[in-house]
Symmetry: D2
Subunit: 326 residues, 4 copies
Amino acid sequence: MQIGIVGLGRMGGNIGRRLMRGGHSCVVYDHNPDATQALAAEGATGAGDLGDLVGKLAVPRVIWLMLPAGKITEDTLNDLHNLLGADDVVIDGGNSFYKDDIRRAAQFRELGVHYVDVGTSGGVWGLERGYCMMIGGEEEAVRRIDPILSVLAPHRGDIPLTPGREGRDPRVEQGYMHTGPVGSGHFVKMVHNGIEYGLMQAYAEGFHILKHKASPDLPPEQRYDIDLADVAEVWRRGSVVSSWLLDLTAGALAQDGSLDHFSTEVADSGEGRWTIEAAIEEAVPAQVLSAALYTRFKSRDAEAFPERLLSAMRFGFGGHKEFPVK
Amino acid sequence: MQIGIVGLGRMGGNIGRRLMRGGHSCVVYDHNPDATQALAAEGATGAGDLGDLVGKLAVPRVIWLMLPAGKITEDTLNDLHNLLGADDVVIDGGNSFYKDDIRRAAQFRELGVHYVDVGTSGGVWGLERGYCMMIGGEEEAVRRIDPILSVLAPHRGDIPLTPGREGRDPRVEQGYMHTGPVGSGHFVKMVHNGIEYGLMQAYAEGFHILKHKASPDLPPEQRYDIDLADVAEVWRRGSVVSSWLLDLTAGALAQDGSLDHFSTEVADSGEGRWTIEAAIEEAVPAQVLSAALYTRFKSRDAEAFPERLLSAMRFGFGGHKEFPVK
Amino acid sequence: MQIGIVGLGRMGGNIGRRLMRGGHSCVVYDHNPDATQALAAEGATGAGDLGDLVGKLAVPRVIWLMLPAGKITEDTLNDLHNLLGADDVVIDGGNSFYKDDIRRAAQFRELGVHYVDVGTSGGVWGLERGYCMMIGGEEEAVRRIDPILSVLAPHRGDIPLTPGREGRDPRVEQGYMHTGPVGSGHFVKMVHNGIEYGLMQAYAEGFHILKHKASPDLPPEQRYDIDLADVAEVWRRGSVVSSWLLDLTAGALAQDGSLDHFSTEVADSGEGRWTIEAAIEEAVPAQVLSAALYTRFKSRDAEAFPERLLSAMRFGFGGHKEFPVK
Amino acid sequence: MQIGIVGLGRMGGNIGRRLMRGGHSCVVYDHNPDATQALAAEGATGAGDLGDLVGKLAVPRVIWLMLPAGKITEDTLNDLHNLLGADDVVIDGGNSFYKDDIRRAAQFRELGVHYVDVGTSGGVWGLERGYCMMIGGEEEAVRRIDPILSVLAPHRGDIPLTPGREGRDPRVEQGYMHTGPVGSGHFVKMVHNGIEYGLMQAYAEGFHILKHKASPDLPPEQRYDIDLADVAEVWRRGSVVSSWLLDLTAGALAQDGSLDHFSTEVADSGEGRWTIEAAIEEAVPAQVLSAALYTRFKSRDAEAFPERLLSAMRFGFGGHKEFPVK
């Protein structure tokens, strides 16, 4: 089927490629003409602006947005609100906040436009591995775009079936799921990323403990100089902690066990934060997910005011020599 | 080759089976004669006691202990100390504390006995999937038992090779690793379990947030009734959080999404605790791994004294009606 | 001066009493006529409804709201919006969210009404000890109500002056502070409560460790049966952890060291949650404040779904006997 | 009475001074002769070495050690073991690990020497405010040194009595407590310090949230520029979070709100770590106390390996530009 794609970055471009490989026809637009041109060279129909893209799509249209969450997505949806009409489907495949989906869907519903939110996992590997998708929206709209979803999805692959799933929605085993009403796709994807932070931090702490076991601060008889790349590799087979994140860890450590050329400042995105806010709204304890988020905040806090305050208190009660520091 | 196995529980029995399938010859002993008998019926040579087992092994002997960490392992090693001689190899494949390994190895070294510690992951799945093993000990002893290790290991399977590993120890890609001197095998396995706690808790918190999104405590327009079994399943393919623990989660939820028949009290073993102690000895922050351990402690704390103290303080300053409770 | 007070609960009633003791004249209203009547019997002028209260105040009026945050406060402010006029001052002394203050102040500003937000700490002790107040609003309005604030405040008392405060705002040493523009009073009070949660949890954990040192689960030689009431008391003098919360703890434990009659379920209010949300908005790590909040969430989670999920995973990989539970 | 004091640093010297002010006679020794000389100039009897000190004390002797925990304390106690005899009392007033107390007391008991452990809080303020003391040891020995303890203690002061303490040990209200058998004094002091870490971190996080509310990263309408020194001061009177640590915070901030001259690296002592180890031994959750300890570890971790690992994983799955860093 025909689909419009807006936003041709790392994710959007590859989504277009995977759809074209699957036999779909793509009309594409990026605010950077080079990106549009690149995909056009691979078989897509390039569009010069949003209006051009909308005009080149047969009605009822299907448009997939793959843009950074926030202002760009908001502006683009506002523009589309003026361009689309009854029975069109607009899909936000980015990382939008689910409460924004609910608001936006209501606005589009007034025009008869169907709004679908798709949480899309897979990163730069999606072109090859496929995209794990969590989809919120009306049943009818989700069914209509199934030809697209089924191509983008990872499919069963060599991952064994889970016993007890007989009679359950077979799409799920292909790697895509209709999670519920509008917003629920991004909500599930948000929690997915929250979990991701927790998993990553668990590995990071564990490898830190392994690495520091060689520290000269320890008594000599308690030191081990453990090859972290080998540890990551050995855990990939038969261990309880095997995972895709561990595969990536093994790859990074095999290149350079010091990781010296990687940043000590770790970014976080809206989804990690919103997960904690959702936990708080629900009164659900999220000790691990929060701790993981906070270590990222801390990694970027060069000022270290709270630590200075601790030093000030220590100086206050104990005369500890935290003061003065030159 | 010939090997003695002491301890034929869930793990030890299957280790024997996997070794026999691999062509090795096993002399086995369990304090429960039925367990010994069962393995003997499958081809092993049964022994009536430790001395019998030692006597039935050709020198130099190789003996694998697969016993609960603590007193039973300690007592058995003490008994073996009186039975073994120069060039014998004794392997502790259980979950012993690595500092105990160091102490025990020194005692055996005086006899010329080689002590090897093997951290063994794989649980009830090991017979089929193989055992991921982390091995501490002298190079020579570890080489000598390689025929055993290579059979027990999971092997490469269909898990893709990690780029950049050219020229590295090929045993690691088979799922077993010589981690360093005595104790290091159990140390690495200990951290493995610490990470395991963190990973598990990350999933648990994330699924809790998903589940509670259906809570009647939330405003109706903010509720989603999300199928958790399907979420676990969909994340298995193409998502960043895919892992073996997620596979198990998907399996459990597919059987019964309520999980009502599982215990609300979660056990912890020595390894999770020792991991935190190691972190503290190394001055390494372990926010996530500790938080994961503490939720298990909390799950078994029916008395709830700290919560009562919070209520008492709240009553003290605010007259909050925490008092009295009938 | 004359002041109107709306809301005569634990806090509002005592605020009226303290103001009257300080020579001010109060017009009071509560939706419960008995509460209005009670304060009228102590010298206040009772009002039958909001309109009556407004009518009984000389212009320009000063009205203090002491109502539960949320709907009641919102509704009352909406009603007052129709009743007040230029130069009136409306004070929200409750625990409102500071972003609501900003919104409400803008609405009142259109009428020429000054909106002041006061974060009020002191609980049931305020009548006697005075109220620590954090005040947001325009300089002029805050100055105008200074006669009220200076009476409500705790005053210097026997708390020693802080060296280095020469030349600083003397109101602060009386226990009230103009924190900045509208909303800032409630913002500072919000963080105050966030800190309060952290402090309380620190004590709760420490006393738990002391108490459990008598546990029969420990080896006999490692047990101490420590008198917690005495510990709390001894720390009140000369120790680094002395505080008012410790005073309250000492009082509660002196009554009954078991605390058996206090609730195991600990409530939390908006302010603890908003503090974490503010931390997340600011990308400030809040490990301790979050952990404190989550233990309260956990105290009320009877369902224990995450723990069941951990048990399910443990059963999945290890055959641990978490299953089935009768 | 007469007492020997070994170790005349910040704590030991002032303990001697406070005892002499209280009418006691001190024989003092420090490995630094200047320190010995200084106290001798104030009325103490100086000793040239441990043997000299022991010789100058009338039997049965009382000796107070105020030395850094660890090797110095251990060595000095070993030396004293050769010098003391039946009915002497040796007091470890430092911050020793309570399990060391238990071991050492048994060794001294063989000589008929009584070993008393005193956890001493008060820091550089103790000379003036007195020392809050937690005392472990046999009833008889603790009674014998009561004249010393009662002078060192802070006494009641102007801190109000706690209702409900009628009939309880009056020493406690003077600021010293016989906590139980040997080791219990240091155990209670250890937990005291664990709590102290938690309290300090709660304040540090709260003030960080207040400070960062002025950050240019926030939308302009959500910024407040709050005077932190004033906030600390205002909370000292009538608020729920008033404490001695807050007093110290107010003092530090009044000097210089930026705290720029204080260290960003925060030390930790054995007691904070042992508290967590005790919690783990007891299976008591210590979320807040651990988190507080870890922020100190983190403050000194310049290598930031775990953060690099997170960046490496992010690069691995998302192509995030964490790589390369120059």
